[in-house]
């Protein structure tokens, strides 16, 4: 899932300076699951902002709502009218959601309440770990299902490097060496010979190093304006 983290309260407050009517809009998918921007977090932030406004003796009208997804036009459409009653929308979605919301609600300003952090797995309760960089060219079949792009500090394709010591990365003893993990997994799978494959020079064009990426699926595009 996409993982986010709420911005510090002071930063959020600074973004709302000068606005009187604020709609706090949560997102019911990834950021709900990682407990950063769902319905509960909307209520908590609203409570804080109400208290803050009272303490500073400023007038603030706060609306609260959470939609299923802010990265999908059809979920935003039903709240466009509601949003029109406010001076600003404080989005608790990831950066993608904030941007689509901003596009659809123009000229209404939309500001982010979260920092979008990474693509992660829920390791255990309350702990999310980065597992994917969305590099656009997956090699997990060669590496025992462990991604060296996301999990090796150097994103090495032919590791490990000399900084791997007793299974740990030289960056931090808290970080396991991805290539040690890959070696151990391949060993468990009986596929150690994979380690001898030299990965060729990487074509990074499908990655995020260039222009914004897009996928267009002709079969998924509706005919005559209808949905497929």
């Amino acid at each position: 899932m996409i993982v986010g983290e709420r911005k510090p309260f002071n930063e959020i407050r600074a973004m709302l300076e000068g606005y009187k009517k604020v709609l706090i809009l949560g997102c019911g998918t990834c950021v709900s699951v990682c407990m950063a921007g769902g319905q509960k977090e909307v209520s908590l932030l609203a409570s804080q902002l109400r208290m803050d406004a009272r303490l500073r003796k400023t007038e603030m009208v706060l609306g609260e709502n959470t939609i299923q997804r802010q990265c999908d036009r059809e979920y935003i459409e039903p709240i466009v009218e509601q949003a029109g009653n406010y001076d600003v929308v404080l989005s608790m979605a990831c950066g993608a959601g904030v941007q689509l919301l901003a596009e659809m609600l123009t000229p209404l300003p939309v500001v982010p309440a979260l920092n979008t952090t990474f693509l992660a797995v829920a390791d255990r309760e309350g702990t999310w770990l980065e597992r994917c960089r969305g590099c656009g060219n997956c090699i997990l079949a060669d590496t025992g299902g462990i991604c060296p792009v996301a999990r090796c500090a150097k994103s090495l394709f032919n590791g490990p490097c000399g900084g791997s010591k007793e299974g740990k990365c030289e960056v931090s003893l808290d970080i396991p060496c991805a290539w040690q993990l890959i070696y151990d997994r391949l060993s468990d799978l009986g596929q150690l010979s994979q380690m001898e494959i030299i990965q060729p020079i990487r074509d990074w064009r499908p990655s995020d190093s260039g222009a914004p990426r897009s996928i267009v699926r002709e079969d998924a595009i509706g005919v005559s304006g209808e949905k497929a």
Partner: protein, 138 residues
């Protein structure tokens, strides 16, 4: 000038802290009358939002009283509540309200004196800190 009488809200669990409060009554123990008890089946029901709302609605101090560690009727409800209290304290401090206005107490079912002491302590704390900043007039 009217004398400030703190309004204190206590979220108490059914099996321990509330039983202790009941026993305190039976034992005729005297404690601050400022405390309003909200009974919960377990303090595991408490979340940060409930605690913030209590302050929004006019509490000068709030405490959560659950079972002693290891004695929770629902195993870990009291431990969960402790974490929610910590979180709510941080959120209060972020907006400039003293975190000390909120705390967690472990109180056994037969420990009426501790219940009375907690009620007095939190009332005294609220007196020291004064009215909640949310209630101060302009």
């Amino acid at each position: 000038m009217s004398v400030f009488e703190p309004r204190v809200v206590a979220f108490c669990c059914h099996f321990c802290a509330y039983s202790a409060a009941d026993l305190a009554g039976s034992m005729r123990l005297e404690y601050a009358p400022n405390v309003r008890i909200v009974k919960l089946m377990c303090t595991g029901k408490v979340d940060a939002l409930l605690l913030l709302k209590a302050f929004e609605d006019g509490a000068d101090a709030v405490y959560v009283a659950g079972c002693e560690e290891g004695d929770c009727h629902f195993l870990e409800g009291n431990l969960r509540a402790t974490k929610q209290v910590d979180r709510a304290r941080k959120m209060l401090e972020e907006v400039g309200i003293e975190g000390d206005r909120l705390r967690m107490y472990p109180i056994g079912a037969s420990d009426a004196p501790s219940f009375a002491a907690a009620a007095n302590e939190m009332t005294e704390k609220a007196r020291q800190l004064g009215p909640s900043p949310l209630k101060k007039e302009g």
